[in-house]
Symmetry: C2
Subunit: 331 residues, 2 copies
DNA sequence: AATATTTCCGCAAACCTTTGCATATCAAAT
DNA sequence: ATTTGATATGCAAAGGTTTGCGGAAATATT
C-alpha cells in the first residue's frame, strides 16, 4: 500500500515550506507563478489529494450533507434522491443517504450518523407524523441545517419543501369531471398522514363544487393489497363506479390490478386518474392520466433551500412544488 | 451556534487530563470505575460526539464506503443499494452513494469523491463494458478495496458479485417449455453488454435442447419503447408467437404494453416469462411468472465480500448469486 | 544612497483525537 | 524499612491542513 502524497511530502521534495505548497495549490496571490507551476506539476505527478479530514479539522467546515428517507426503493423518493445526489456532487459535497425504515428509532440512529459525519445539513422525509421536533431544533442550534421534504411537520421555523397536495387533488377532480360520471370511487392512503387528509379534503370539496350530482365513494388503503381488494369490492358492488381516483402510485398499482381482472375496459367502462411521479402510470395500456408530483422537482427545490441557507440566508422558507396534469388515455 | 463538546472540554470541566477522558469513554481498563462514571455522565450531558475527522486523522482508518451505480432510480439497483445501506449503517460505517449516469467521465468524478473521503472500499456497477481497469488497480494499491457488482469486468484479481445469468436464462426456458409452444419470441437488451450475450446464449441453447421443434424468434431492444414496438410487430406478424420471454424489467414493461393493447389474453393466447427483481411482474393481472434475480441478495453478497476483505481476507473472490423461479399466472 | 514599497515565502499555532511511555500513589510482600 | 507490584492518571507527539504574522529579498521612490 503506497503512502499517500501530502503537503509535507511535496514541500520537502521541492525544498520549500508546507505553507507555500498549500498556498500554491489554492492559488494564493502571495505565491509566484513559477513556484505555483512547480508545485502543481509535482502534485499532479504524485496524485495528491487533500486530506479532507485534516481540512475539516482545520476549517471546521464539513462538505457532507445527509439525506434520510424511509426507503430508497420507493419510486417517488428515488427520483428525489437522484436529483439531490447529482446537485450535491456538482458542488463537490458528499451526500450520505440513509434509510429510516419508517422507524423513529432507526431515524434517530441515522441522525446520529449524520452528526458523526458533521453533516452541514440534512434533508429529511419524516417517518411518522407525530415526530418529536426537539432533536431537530437542537440540530439547527448546533449548526446543522434541516430541510424537511414531502412529509413536513406543522411547526414553523424550519425549511420545508412539499408537493402542492391541494392543487394536485383539485386538478385531478377537474380533469375527471370534464366528462360526466355517475359514481366516482376515490381511494386514499393511510388516514394517519396529513398528506392523505389534505388530498381527500381538496378532492371531495372540488367534486361537490363541480358536480353535486356525482356520487362519491371513498376508501382508505394502507397498501397495494388492500387497495386492490377494496377496488374489487367496489367494482363488484351494486353501484359500480364509472370513475376511479387513486391518490398515490401504491394505491394505483393495487387498484389497477382489480380493474384488469374485472375485464372492464379503460376508459370506456371506467375512467382512471392518479397522482404520481410518472413511472407507474406509463406501464399500462392505455397509459393512465395522472397529476404529476415530480420527485425530481422536489429534490431540486430542497437542494436550493439547503444552498440558500448554507450561503447565509437564515429565515426559514416553506416551498410548495407545483404540479401538472399529464394526459393519457384513461379518461 | 453552540460549541461542540470535545475531550479537552470535558477534561477541563472535570479537572482531569484529555487522555483520561478519552480512555474512560473507550472503556480502557486502566481507568477507575468512578472516573469512568463521572466522564460518561458529563459526556452524555454535553451531548459529546467524537470528532470523526480527528479520529481518522489519528487512526488513519476511515469508516466510509462508496457505492457507484448508473442511477439510483432503477428498480434493480435500488434494492441492491437499500440492502448495502442497511448493512453499512449496522456496522457504524457511512455509505456514499453516487450516480455515474452511465458516463465514464462522471464515473471518474465519483471515484474522485470516494478518494476525497478516503473510502475504505467501493462497491461499483460498471457503467460501460470497455472500462479501463487501471484506475481500479491503483485504487486497490492505495488500500481502497473494490467490489464489482452486477456488470463485472472479465479481469481476474478483483472481488466480483453477479447474478447467475446463465442459470436464470436456463430456468426461464425450462419453465416456458413445461407446456408446448409453437413460437417463442425472446426479447433481449443491448447486445453490447455481456449480460445480454450470456442470457441469450443460455436461453437459446436450452430451448433447442429441450424442444427442437419450437420456433425461436429473437429481438434486441435498447429501451422500453423499442421493446414495445418490436413486440407489437411480432404479435401482428404472420407467425404470431404464443410465448414471450423478456430478459429484464425494462424489456418486460415495454413488451407487456404491446400485449395489453393487442387484446390477447395471458396466458391463454400468449404465455409470458421474465427475469426480474420482482416488482414489475406483480403489477399486472395476472401476475407475470419470472426468474427472480434478487437485488437484495446481490447487495448482501457484495457487502459480505467487502467485509471479508476489510477483515483481512485478501484473495479476490467471484460470487454468483443464485436465482429462483417465482410462479404466477402468466404461463 | 537611503528609504519606502512590493513580492514572495516560512514559522508556528491550532483543530481533536489516540496511544506509548512515564509518573505517582498506595498496598502488599520481603 | 525497603522493594515489588498493581492501579490510576498525565505528558506529549503525531496525523495533515490552513492562516495570521513576521521577515528577507527585490524593486521602486525620493
Amino acid at each position: 500500500m503506497k503512502a499517500k502524497a501530502t503537503l509535507k511530502n511535496i514541500s520537502s521534495l521541492l525544498g520549500i515550506s508546507i505553507s507555500t505548497v498549500s498556498r500554491a495549490l489554492s492559488d494564493h496571490p502571495d505565491i509566484s507563478a513559477t513556484t505555483k507551476l512547480k508545485v502543481r506539476e509535482l502534485a499532479e505527478m504524485l496524485d495528491y489529494e487533500p486530506n479532507s479530514y485534516a481540512v475539516y479539522l482545520r476549517t471546521n467546515a464539513s462538505k457532507v450533507l445527509g439525506l434520510i428517507v424511509e426507503d430508497i426503493s420507493n419510486n417517488f423518493y428515488d427520483s428525489v434522491i437522484s436529483a439531490i445526489e447529482k446537485e450535491t456532487r456538482k458542488i463537490g459535497y458528499s451526500l450520505l443517504i440513509l434509510q429510516s425504515s419508517n422507524d423513529p428509532e432507526i431515524e434517530q440512529s441515522c441522525i446520529r450518523l449524520c452528526k458523526y459525519n458533521r453533516a452541514a445539513g440534512i434533508f429529511i422525509a419524516l417517518s411518522s407524523s407525530g415526530t418529536d421536533m426537539a432533536p431537530f431544533r437542537k440540530l439547527e442550534e448546533n449548526g446543522t441545517h434541516i430541510v424537511f421534504m414531502d412529509k413536513v411537520p406543522d411547526d414553523e421555523g424550519f425549511d420545508k419543501v412539499a408537493m402542492n397536495d391541494v392543487r394536485a387533488a383539485v386538478i385531478a377532480a377537474d380533469a375527471l369531471l370534464e366528462k360526466k360520471h355517475e359514481t366516482i370511487f376515490a381511494l386514499f392512503g393511510d388516514k394517519e398522514f396529513s398528506i392523505t387528509r389534505n388530498r381527500e379534503k381538496a378532492f371531495t370539496e372540488q367534486v361537490s363544487k363541480l358536480s353535486s350530482g356525482t356520487k362519491l365513494l371513498t376508501g382508505y388503503a394502507k397498501d397495494r393489497i388492500s387497495a386492490r381488494e377494496q377496488t374489487r369490492l367496489a367494482l363488484d358492488s351494486q353501484e359500480r363506479p364509472d370513475a376511479l381516483f387513486c391518490m398515490s402510485d401504491e394505491i394505483l398499482a393495487g387498484a389497477i390490478k382489480a380493474v384488469q381482472s374485472s375485464g372492464l375496459r379503460i376508459p370506456e367502462d371506467i375512467a382512471i386518474i392518479g397522482i404520481s411521479n410518472g413511472y407507474i402510470p406509463t406501464l399500462f395500456s392505455p397509459e393512465i392520466t395522472y397529476v404529476e408530483t415530480s420527485g425530481h422537482a422536489l429534490g431540486i427545490q430542497a437542494f436550493e433551500s439547503m444552498m440558500n441557507h448554507l450561503n447565509g440566508l437564515t429565515n426559514p422558507i416553506s416551498v410548495e412544488v407545483p404540479v401538472r396534469l399529464v394526459r393519457a388515455g384513461s379518461l
